[in-house]
């Protein structure tokens, strides 16, 4: 059973922006799924269509087999959504907000109150339950939206950048929390711009760019596909020039920082042997960038739209993007197995 199944989905907004240009995507029940893409790629639009905040232009979408054209109410009752932007009444209290939300899904108030206590406690909001929501901090507001989305215990939980603006500690506890929810059988679709978050949480991934799915794979096999990695070495003694290591391109960033590019077939032992032979001592080592980030950048760069839009002005850039570039996307077909 597919938790989400999308076929040929397109969306053209009334201002002419083509946000989705034929998306095909399946998400298995029970999956922890990452939907990644640069600003303006179409993630929120896709989620909006699934939750009926956005009307599609063409194509079809179903949730656990319920087609949104024919059984919209059943489809919606299966989804819980944490939207990208705050959308609760700032003048109501957290408890009122979550209890009413349960009511909209047909949960009787008596049961809703019990659940409100459970989820507000789990998200550390219980002692704020009577405060005006406006008075919560940004991170608390995000958690409130998570509690709200869980009140009807949905089979599919969609999180649209839930950790934006959330501190590291809370982010980690949120990860633990959604992992737990997922392990109990809830399917999760997550969008995020923190790629290490997606890498550590998600089993499957789709990358969307310019309204097309440009990649769809298991997280692990996608990461395996990465051919080269750059390691940053921290040296004990300062060097004057980058050492020559046959077969390994090197760059000296500053005297004590050396970058080495390594392909999949090469071995790290070999590099260390060569460095030792040259009398260079390595104190520590790390990846230059997160591996997923590397892949992500390559995919969206090749696709021709890599982050050319500043976060503040998404949309404008989408309109001015020449259609032909997107149409000529070299990567379609490569990732289009969905």
């Amino acid at each position: 059973m597919h938790a989400l199944s999308v076929r040929g989905l397109t969306k053209t907004y009334s201002n002419g922006v083509q946000a989705l240009k034929g998306v095909d995507l399946d998400v298995e029940e029970g999956d922890f799924f990452a939907l990644l893409g640069p600003n303006g790629a179409g993630k929120t639009t896709l989620i909006g269509i699934a939750t009926s905040l956005v009307n599609k232009t063409s194509g079809s979408l179903s949730v656990f087999g319920y087609d949104i054209d024919r059984q919209i109410e059943a489809a919606k009752s299966c989804i819980g959504v944490v939207p990208q932007e705050l959308n609760f009444n700032q003048f109501e209290s957290p408890e009122t907000i979550v209890v009413n939300q349960a009511g909209f899904y047909g949960i009787p108030r008596r049961i809703a109150r019990v659940r409100a206590q459970k989820y507000l406690k789990q998200l550390q909001l219980w002692d704020k339950r009577d405060k005006m929501a406006r008075a919560l901090s940004g991170g608390m507001k995000r958690r409130l939206m998570i509690a709200r989305a869980l009140m009807h215990e949905p089979r599919l939980l969609i999180l649209d950048e839930p950790t934006a603006g959330v501190d590291i500690e809370v982010r980690r506890s949120m990860w633990e929390f959604v992992r737990e929810i997922n392990s109990q059988g809830t399917t999760i679709i997550l969008t995020t711009h923190y790629l290490e978050e997606a890498e550590s949480l998600c089993r499957n991934i789709a990358i969307i760019d310019g309204g097309h799915i440009v990649e769809r794979d298991q997280m692990s096999s996608l990461l395996r596909r990465l051919h080269t990695e750059v390691f940053v070495l921290n040296l004990r003694d300062s060097l004057a020039a980058a050492p020559q290591l046959a077969g390994y391109p090197t760059t000296l960033v500053d005297g004590r920082t050396l970058e080495v590019e390594v392909t999949k077939e090469q071995s790290l032992n070999d590099i260390f042997m060569r460095l030792s032979a040259l009398g260079i001592e390595v104190l520590s080592m790390r990846n230059k960038v997160n591996r997923l980030e590397e892949i992500f950048m390559r995919l969206v760069e090749k696709h021709g739209t890599a982050l050319e839009e500043g976060p503040g002005e998404r949309g404008r850039a989408g309109e001015s993007r020449p259609a032909s570039r997107s149409e000529a996307a070299p990567l379609r077909g490569h990732g289009g197995r969905s």
């Binding site: 009926s52 179903s62 319920y66 059984q71 009787p108």
Partner: protein, 271 residues
């Protein structure tokens, strides 16, 4: 194993009838909570207004007016003033609550839920009805301090007030749905609703008007509402009461349909 399109519809995961009923109740409870939370803005102003009208028009000026439609002026305007409060409060409640929900985006809480559009319209209209009736009771209480009211036809009073409140609640909903900014929610009440109410026979019987003005007045829907309501108290009316109630019921049905269609077309709330 294609579970997406083509297959036969699956049975819904939950009883949707029950979901509808609980969802409807939830909207009404939330609206009621809002009315009570900001009672200083929702319930008090009408009481103050009614008192001023009674003191100035009823006591001071009314004495010089003498009889109107066979009753003292104070008595004559009492039902009209109650109706005026019901009309403006029903409208104001839904227009500001729903526009607020749209503006603050929390309308999305309902849009993502399984509640169908017609139920959201009905829920908000019921919220407007709650406000209209609460204010009606408050203003009636004020009225009783100034004028003696006797009830001739209780059922007609109830029917007139409920239908009128429903008409303007739905009107407020439509206004909020199509409004793009705050100006557009104050425009209609100020430039249409208020003049129609003042010319709707609250303060005078249309019998005192010259022929052409009477004819124009009969095109004003509020005239029928006020007169049907007044008939419930005095047993006299400028219009045919059964016809008036029928027109109101038709208006409720018509406005409800328009609201649901607009909501479905998504103007202003869904992209």
């Amino acid at each position: 194993m294609n579970d997406s399109a083509a297959g036969a519809p699956l049975p819904p995961p939950v009883g949707l009838g029950l979901v509808h009923w609980i969802g409807f109740q939830t909207i009404v409870i939330r609206e009621y909570g809002r009315i009570i939370r900001i009672w200083g803005q929702t319930l008090v102003p009408s009481a103050v207004n009614a008192t001023l009208y009674f003191v100035i028009f009823g006591s001071l000026i009314g004495r010089r007016v003498g009889q109107m439609g066979g009753h003292s002026y104070m008595q004559f305007i009492a039902p009209g003033l109650i109706m005026m409060a019901v009309i403006s409060n029903s409208y104001a409640n839904v227009v500001s609550s729903f526009f607020g929900a749209k503006f603050g985006k929390h309308v999305e809480e309902m849009l993502v839920s399984p509640l169908p559009d017609w139920l959201i319209v009905a829920g908000y209209a019921a919220g407007g009805l709650v406000r209209g009736l609460l204010v009606g009771v408050v203003v009636t209480a004020v009225t009783l301090l100034f004028a003696h009211l006797r009830v001739e036809h209780a059922a007609i009073i109830a029917a007139a007030v409920i239908l009128t409140s429903a008409v303007f609640s739905l009107g407020g909903f439509i206004n909020a749905l199509v409004a793009k900014n705050f100006d557009q929610i104050s425009w209609f009440p100020t430039f249409v609703l208020q003049p129609l109410t003042y010319f709707g026979g609250v303060f005078y019987s249309v019998q005192i008007l010259p022929g052409w003005a009477q004819a124009v007045s009969y095109a004003n829907p509020i005239l029928y509402m006020v007169n049907a309501f007044r008939y419930g108290f005095f047993g006299v009316s400028d219009v045919d009461v059964a016809g008036a109630l029928l027109i109101m019921a038709a208006a409720v049905a018509g406005l409800f349909t328009i609201a649901v269609v607009l909501m479905h077309r998504a103007s202003g709330i869904r992209e």
